[in-house]
Symmetry: C3
Subunit: 150 residues, 3 copies
């Protein structure tokens, strides 16, 4: 537990801010249902490991999964909002950025009350492609399913 | 949808941080009921477009609206907390800053349980007056009323 | 009210970012139950003033209080997540940093629904020890108990 929380590679204020800004755009695309643009914020051979789902490999599969999900939400008149916060960023020896952050998901039905849907922890590895940050891998744990409570 | 999410003008880490810090002070003033000080964070001829309300023009009308609102909340023993997050900032050709961010409103009655009151999206245009950021216009959409789900 | 919200000492973008990043690590340690590592983010003679509790003096007492609290939460299968946000930072004449921020506490029982547990305001004084930010004092108010609604 404490090992994964240790500070392993301090990043500059500029890089930290870049990561924060990156997630804002990333989540705006997700919640707006912009599947292709959202998938483009991942590297081509990305890996996504979500709770209760088989891991998803590759940007194409990811965009398909996301398009299906957004279609279901829209059919049900549901708007989700993903918030990343309490973000820590460490630079790995190879230059990748290891991110640990909290993630909230809010859900609102058209005409309904907003609702806190999930509280999660997100572990990302970010890399640069042509100067731009992209997600290489993501592992998310849900607090309600997390048996190690870490 | 995707057009308004496109990156149109990258800002520096300093400017991004300044916007984040600006919103923190801005919302502290709002939630503390400091109507005049809060209104002073807008330009004099500002425009505020809130859901289900007629647009409000000018700082004086804004301060009046806000003072009325805070008086009602206090009479009802209610404390609101406005959170801006997932903030994107783009510099427009004229130097204004176009902000898109998520906004949460929490509500707590004295002696009661805290409650998620609203999830919104906020579109601001920020400008500089004497070196200080100010809000020129604000448009807020509520997820529960938003028919385009974007 | 307005006095405590006045801007008293502008900090650089680097310092602001450092404070934001500090709180992310600080809360990851708290929520992960890393009592000793969390207490190490306070100065030795720190002061913690929490609602409905006697003030706690010193890092040792703080670590003990936190270890007891985390043991109770774990026994009950509860995961808390502390979010600091809407952070303002002012540099005091002596170099200390005065922070005012909002704090949310989310609570999730294993197998249950996530819940908004508290909305609070946190007033910290941060200092540097060997270049590293540490909390010298913390005063937290809960919105549901706060009679001055500020």
């Amino acid at each position: 537990m404490t090992q994964q929380l240790a500070i392993t590679g301090v990043v500059s204020a500029d890089v930290y801010q870049e990561v924060v800004h990156f997630y804002a755009r990333h989540m705006h695309l997700l919640d707006a249902g912009a599947a292709a643009e959202w998938a483009a914020t991942f590297v081509d051979d990305c890996l996504m490991d979500l709770p209760n789902l088989e891991p998803v490999h590759g940007r194409t599969a990811l965009a398909e999964m996301m398009a299906k999900s957004i279609a279901q939400l829209r059919a049900g008149g549901e708007q989700r909002r993903h918030w990343h916060g309490m973000i820590t960023v460490d630079e790995m020896p190879g230059g990748e950025l290891a991110v640990r952050c909290y993630a909230l998901v809010f859900s609102t039905l058209f005409g309904g009350e907003p609702r806190l849907h999930r509280t999660c922890v997100c572990h990302d590895v970010l890399v640069r492609e042509g100067g731009t940050l992209k997600v290489r891998s993501r592992r998310v744990t849900r607090d309600d399913l997390n048996t190690d409570l870490s």
